[in-house]
């Protein structure tokens, strides 16, 4: 075992020495680099994390998240088999999903239906969870101060027909999509939820970012939706406001069907 080394040593002493020196040098560089990186990291990262740890809303949000959301979305919101990662979805997505009662999810299916928000999370709880999720990665923030009253309703109508009506129906009544999915009615959505849906693209809805539809255009769309929500049905029942399908069904089944029954009664013997 020793023989080859001992025999080799006298042959190339200088070379081996150089090699050892090199190893020591590269080790030194590595240590120095790691040290620098560590110092740099300590300089930047802990500053952010200590801030977030000090924010009571984030701590509270993390606590609520671990109870109500983590079973599907993971303890660090990293996602899992049953649910997507929430890193980078932003506070607006959380506020929309929980504010409309879609999350926590009741059961898995093609679509998460709108329902009454879960009573175990109040408005403040949702805000705290949103703050916590927003701290995990940058994403759209909850829109503040949505003042659509002065927006241009006609322009909003044009934008609605180009971008929204194909799925949500010309009167905002919603409509069917593929394989059991559907675009929900907009009649229950608040202006803030409509705004959040546009910037986050919940479920299968496309995202309409601020550089595609700018905030003024979004407010115009909201103004239009708020107006069609208030419109009365001057002809009687709106029949879901989904157009000729229900109207024809009622005309044929109830109208003509009723006439046929009355005619048969008239023709029958007394």
């Amino acid at each position: 075992m020793n023989t080859p080394e001992e025999g080799a040593e006298p042959v190339q002493p200088a070379k081996l020495g150089r090699s050892r020196k090199r190893k020591v040098a590269s080790l030194g560089v590595l240590v120095a680099a790691l040290g620098t990186m560590g110092t740099l990291y300590a300089g930047f990262a802990p500053a952010a994390s200590s801030a977030s740890n000090n924010d009571p809303a984030i701590a509270r949000g993390r606590e609520l998240f671990s109870h109500g959301c983590a079973s599907c979305h993971g303890l660090n919101a990293e996602g899992g088999v049953r649910a997507p990662s929430l890193v980078g979805v932003g506070a607006a997505a959380v506020d929309f999903q929980m504010g409309t009662g879609r999350m926590p999810l009741q059961q898995h299916g093609p679509e998460a239906p709108r329902k009454r928000p879960d009573p175990q999370f109040n408005e403040q709880d949702i805000q705290d969870i949103a703050t916590y999720v927003a701290s995990l990665g940058a994403g759209p923030a909850i829109p503040e101060g949505i003042d659509y009253q002065s927006a241009d309703i006609a322009y909003g109508g044009a934008l609605f027909r180009t971008n929204c009506a194909q799925c949500h129906n010309f009167a905002g009544s919603g409509g069917a999509l593929t394989y059991g999915k559907y675009a929900p009615t907009l009649h229950d959505a608040t202006p803030r939820q409509i705004y959040e849906a546009m910037i986050t693209g919940p479920e299968n809805m496309p995202v309409f970012g601020d550089s595609e539809i700018n905030p003024a255009q979004k407010l115009a769309i909201i103004k239009y939706i708020e107006d069609i929500k208030k419109q009365p049905d001057p002809g009687g029942a709106g029949l879901g406001r989904v157009g000729p399908v229900t109207e024809t069904a009622v005309a044929w089944l109830v109208g003509i069907g009723g006439l046929v029954i009355i005619t048969m009664w008239i023709g029958s013997k007394a």
């Binding site: 180009t162 299968n204 995202v207």
Partner: protein, 336 residues
Amino acid sequence: MTDDSGVPSPRKRVGRRPAAENPSNVGERTSDMAVTEQHASSAEEEKFAELQVAALFGAGIVMLIFFTVCYFTISIRHNIGQYSNYALGGSLALALFSIGGGFIVWAKKLLPKEKTVQDRHDFNSPEADEIEAENTFLQGVDDMGLGRHKLLRRTLLGALGLFPLPLVIMLRDLGPLPHNSLLVTGWKKGTRLVDADTKLPIKLGSIEIGGIQTVVPEGVEDINDYALAPTMLIRFGPNQILSKKERDWGYQDHVAYSKICTHAGCPISLYEQQTHHLLCPCHQSTFDMSRDAKVIFGPAARPLPQLRIGVNAAGEFIALGNYSQAVGPSFWERRA
């Protein structure tokens, strides 16, 4: 009731002539033809039926008065006349229904019940009438004197002969032939993609991942070019596009496809950003936008055509040419 002479008055001829020939089946009540159950109901039943009819007529009166009151009291300014419409339409419908119902109950319960059978009368006229009509026609032709008035005859024939001409000429409006107008759209190499509403160019990065935008070619005025041009610009997430050709024709996860369904030409943009399905609202054709718009459901026969896009020096999306195939539904002259 009628006579068998050659000149019956028109009133007598309607449905009554066979009476003389077949006296047994006239619309007269004869004891052997009529199945009679006259006054089968008792006096109390009749009294009750009378009350029913009177109640229905009374309801009609009430509804008509209600209509009148509503007409003058309910404002049509409120809610686009919603409540006025309810009240007026509802009360008038109920009034007519009640009055009509009253008549029907009257007929069914109070009128004598009997069955009578009446044969159909013959379809042909009496022989004397036929001869007279024939003679009248021939006399008229003779009186016109077409044999004598040559000029009248020729001009009449000319006028009648030319009469179909306008109808034939108007057939030209079925054309002209479309030539290549169905094959080309307003897209050219270098045309900027602009938003369908704002007509502003689309910057790279302005669409979020999972976003979609309806775009048209900049500066296209011709209505036919414009009609075929609407295009969807879709942004995918990284590595979500599964077709190499689709990736190559797009630009950095952005792809552009025709918005005109290949089945019946409906504008189609029900895009699901998670499944990448695109659904046509008219007949439920479904396209998988991550696999080169392959048809996965519905009646569409072809994928949506893809527009080759790039980005110019200013970072705006441009078309790299026209669609390589005709957009929209099939037509006879379409190749492939």
